[in-house]
Symmetry: C2
Subunit: 329 residues, 2 copies
Amino acid sequence: MVTLKDIAVKVGVDVSTVSKVLQGAPIRISDARREEIVRTAQEMDYRPNLMARGLRLKRSNALAMIVPTTTSYLYPEIIDGAEQAAEERGYALFLIKSQNPHTRLLSVVGHGRIDGLVFADDQPSEEVASRLNSLDVSWVCLNRTKPDDHGHVALDDEAGFNAQAEHLLKLGHRSIVFVSVTPSSYISGLCTRMFIDRMKKEGVDLPQTHLFQSEFDGGQAADIADIIAELSPRPTAVAAASVQIASRIVESLRAKGLRIPEDISVVGYHDSPTALWPPPGITTVKMPSRRQGYQGVSRVIDLLNGVHFEGETIDERPVVIERGTCAPL
Amino acid sequence: MVTLKDIAVKVGVDVSTVSKVLQGAPIRISDARREEIVRTAQEMDYRPNLMARGLRLKRSNALAMIVPTTTSYLYPEIIDGAEQAAEERGYALFLIKSQNPHTRLLSVVGHGRIDGLVFADDQPSEEVASRLNSLDVSWVCLNRTKPDDHGHVALDDEAGFNAQAEHLLKLGHRSIVFVSVTPSSYISGLCTRMFIDRMKKEGVDLPQTHLFQSEFDGGQAADIADIIAELSPRPTAVAAASVQIASRIVESLRAKGLRIPEDISVVGYHDSPTALWPPPGITTVKMPSRRQGYQGVSRVIDLLNGVHFEGETIDERPVVIERGTCAPL
DNA sequence: TTGAAAGCGCTAACAC
DNA sequence: GTGTTAGCGCTTTCAA
């Protein structure tokens, strides 16, 4: 392992000089010296000892993002955004599989090993949260279980479900089914309301018989599709709060002999590889998940630098990705 | 932040004494003292500074596992096993999303931040491998692209495809299709051969027309199912090298009006949540992936402790999970 | 322009 | 039984 001292000895200067030069600190030094130091460091493949630096600076320059066990298809995008932000700001980003309770998390994050955390899935319990604070670990959540919690980086689901509703309305649909997700966050519990409200503005009422609930991964979607197929009069469109649900519904309705989108239009929510099945894919509302990951990391780093932060909603516009499961009435 | 010194001052002893007591080192000290030190540490919620310890010991006690971008369904099991091993041996385990090339990996692993790596997906390039070695980072791979590479923790796919073949043979099938995966590792390139060899032992020959290749995630499976359905005489069983492929084939064959398993039996490879679709799920060969993750981490830790390691094949037996897509001829 | 020195929190060899 | 001491590699203040 090559240290600052090795370089210092080789060049014939003091370690502190090498340290300053390598950091690009604004010191006055002859260009020749500076160049020689930099070159020598490269030649020797010098890599700073992060433990020593961390001990001195009380900073590890490492972040971790907690992601769920189930390989839910939203996370690759979030992770990509998060990694980009981390890289841009010179931080290392690790992933930790989320587990409940988060007790093991504390020993992994440890003391000084990780500067900040992004909870991409669930949220820390009161106890874990206060331990994190006492360990001086900054953290933000991407999901919300309560409206007024510790700083969050949330998606604008109101805009998302608005966009979904508008897409169907624009195509002329008025007899619509909405399949929400089992509440797992503050927002998912409200999605039915958001969708209904937007519909009501257009004078479209959704009766109770047109409201369903499924697991995010599409668990009960097949049963729901059975019921939808039997409704009379048959609705002309189905909006689902996840693309997995939409995908399953398309499969099930087709299996019953219904044509999608000719007989019924189907639209999902969020975009992911799942949305490509069945081919040529599900029409869906793409939310700015990548950006959410990016901002999550950015905000944690800001917190570390003393920049206060109350919470944030990503204002990038939702985009309807048309893949052929929606048609005009 | 509370340090050893804080405790030492409070109790009225030296830091080194506190250090030794808290590590449970075999020193002679009065029980009263020892008890007081331990109690005080607890009361003050002492947490060792991992940077300081790491600097001193030249060990971070942290490992990372490289997992692929695509949320392939095998990984949850591998990760679970890996985390268990890490926890048992007192290591923190982080996940890093695999990326090609691995250049960013080096800066994330840094110098001293991570003691060892498990590559769960691909393998490091020559260059990255040599950098890791020069950084004194131990590593193992779970996959193999070459037969005689740096120490691996591999699955016994020979036994796996044997078990798959035997299951179909035992049910009386003799006209069989095999769908392999696009080679991504040393083993996956050989899977067709393993299956065929086992079949040949029983006097069953697979003609070229009965051999297909698909992406691991089932990409081309629908097209392949189309061809299978038209084969004449129609084969009585399909063996696939992934459960995703099997799942897609079952769906496609059923969509064409064939009954599974009455008309054709289908068996997958590996087990995962995907195997539950379509209900009640796909009959498959479960490989010891959990164990593979566990051993991967164990071996890295062994390497760190100077225990040499050439490579290993998990000898836990593959198990056929019967879910109803296979029937006797 | 450059160097000396202190110290981050911890461990371990050695002294008493 | 317990304390002294040195040092891991780095940064930063202060001195020259």
